[in-house]
């Protein structure tokens, strides 16, 4: 079942076409990697899908809902959560708060009067233990190591309990132990039936993790298929060498 459809999405910035009639589909319950040379438009795609940037033309189909406009705060409604390539944590808040803020009430009145709920704290602790940051829970986010920060990003996404995870370069700059941890989390999520869209430059990990690979170049669709097939195609290699 195709849980997410990207249909003819176009986006331009000051004359430059970041995305040009990009179209492809994401299958539910598998890990799909989106790859492509630098500047291909991968992060732009994620920004546009999550409403952080507007797009000019095209449609996203989430589940069976077609969308021509997306607002960031609708993400929980569409059961989508994301991480950021550049790690956008809430720096001067604790690790625990970074997760709690995703778990608590969205409605303003409820948020003011919501009692300090054991339910939220327990869920937060569970997530922190899962990603291995429970001991650091009272540490300020800005004091974490780089690898821990990337883990916390993932923890935040986990807290959303979405159907679709968008991971933007979750492995970049991580030490091997961290890489192992993140890989195992992703495999667990797949076991749980979750859908993962992964942007990465690490070909080895892509080959190992992905069920499906989609290649984008200059904002348009180039190729898709099984990792080993796609990544050895001549046109794909050329696209990378050209960068």
């Amino acid at each position: 079942m195709k849980i997410l459809k990207i249909q003819n999405i176009s986006k331009h910035f000051e004359g430059v076409h970041a995305l040009s009639k990009l179209s492809f589909e994401i299958e539910k319950g598998v890990i799909t990697s989106v790859v492509g040379p630098n500047g291909a438009g991968k992060t732009t795609l994620m920004n546009v899908l999550t409403g952080m940037e507007t797009f000019d033309n095209g449609t996203f189909v989430v589940g069976d809902i077609p969308l021509t406009k997306v607002k960031p705060r609708e993400m929980p409604m569409y059961r989508i959560a994301r991480t950021f390539q550049s790690v956008r944590l809430f720096e001067q808040m604790t690790v625990l708060d970074n997760v709690l803020v995703v778990l608590t009430e969205r409605n303003i009145l409820s948020a003011i009067f919501e009692k300090h709920s054991k339910y939220h704290e327990e869920r937060a602790f569970g997530i922190l233990k899962r990603i291995g940051l429970w001991e650091k829970r009272n540490e300020l986010a800005e004091n974490l190591s780089y690898g821990q920060r990337k883990l916390l990003e993932i923890g935040r996404a986990l807290a959303m309990e979405p159907e679709v995870y968008l991971f933007d370069e979750p492995f970049s700059g991580l030490f091997p132990e961290m890489v192992k941890k993140v890989k195992s989390i992703m495999k667990e999520l797949r076991e749980e039936g979750k859908t993962i869209v992964l942007i990465s430059h690490n070909m080895e990990i892509i080959r190992e993790l992905s069920d499906h690979v989609i290649v984008i170049e200059s904002g348009t669709f180039l190729a898709e298929g099984k990792p080993d097939d796609v990544l050895s195609r001549k046109d794909v290699l050329e696209a990378y060498l050209g960068e």
């Binding site: 409403g51 705060r73 929980p76 950021f84 808040m93 803020v101 409820s110 003011i112 919501e114």
Partner: protein, 288 residues
């Protein structure tokens, strides 16, 4: 002794102003230089309704709150489109516009002449004309304001405010309508400023536009930066410090007109030094 009571009352009023502004600036990261406008609206509403309509102080206080809430809602709507320094600039503009209204809408506010003989609060026949009783009243208000603000700050709502301060676009993508959150806290801050304004009007029993200009907003900003942004206890301490410090200077022997300027000098210097050497203020919770 009377003098100490006077200082304590002033400290209370400015502590309330500081706490309210801290929720907006310290927790949510909105650099508002408009706070004095709502302080003024509360003051003028209280003064006018008490004098011209013989309304009881506590009712006039509520009326002031309603006016401030409406004004801050409208102003907040406009301000929420701006970021960072443009926000500060626009809020500065609004402060000046409101101040200008205080100065020029003479039929209502008597302009530069101000409104004299406002009268002290009265409750079931008891008038708070003795300063010591007024102090007790003020302290009760401070406690209420502090309590409410701590409750808000520690709630889930407060946590979201901090996230907005840290990275507004990021928290949006987790499902939050940040515009509404910002607007709500701005109105809450304005309501608290209005309470301080009502107290001020009935304490000094005379108000004029000079008490609500831009420099006053800057002063409240100094209080919360000194005390420590996002630390409510700090705002009380900051108010204490900044009200007392110039009084100490007076003991050192400066003539009174120079003393007023000396006060400004101290505030300004404090802001600069804090920015240079300790942006997290006394209580050190959040760095600007």
């Amino acid at each position: 002794m009377e003098y100490i009571i006077h200082l304590a009352i002033l400290t209370s009023i400015f502590a309330i102003l500081g706490i309210g502004l801290n929720l907006v600036v310290g927790y949510t990261g909105l650099l508002s230089v408009a706070h004095a406008a709502f302080y003024g609206i509360g003051s003028y509403a209280t003064a006018i309704f008490m004098k011209s309509f013989g309304v009881n102080f506590f009712i006039a206080l509520l009326i002031g709150i309603i006016f401030s809430a409406i004004a801050s809602f409208l102003i907040g709507l406009v301000l929420s489109r701006f970021k960072d320094d443009y926000y500060a600039l626009a809020s500065l503009g609004f402060n000046i516009i409101v101040w200008s209204i205080f100065l020029n809408w003479q039929s209502v506010t008597r302009g530069p002449l101000g409104i004299p003989a406002i009268g002290r609060p009265e409750l079931f026949g008891f008038v708070f004309s003795e300063n010591i009783f007024f102090l007790i009243l003020s302290l009760i208000f401070v406690a209420l304001v502090f309590g409410v603000s701590v409750f808000i700050g520690n709630s889930s709502f407060g946590r979201v405010l901090k996230a907005i301060r840290e990275d507004e676009k990021a928290i949006q993508v987790f499902g939050y309508n940040t515009q509404m959150y910002k607007l709500t806290i701005f109105v809450i801050g304005a309501v608290l400023a209005s309470v301080a304004g009502s107290l001020y009007a009935t304490y000094i029993t005379f108000i004029d536009p000079t008490a609500f200009n831009v420099m006053e907003s800057v002063f409240v900003l100094s209080i919360i930066i000194l005390g420590g942004l996002a630390n409510l206890k700090g705002s009380v301490i900051g108010a204490l410090f900044l009200i007392l410090l110039p009084e100490l200077l007076r003991f050192v022997g400066f003539p009174s007109d120079v003393a007023a300027q000396m006060r400004q000098l101290v505030y300004g210097l404090l802001l600069v030094l804090l920015m240079l050497y300790r942006p997290q203020g006394l209580m050190g919770e959040y760095k600007l």
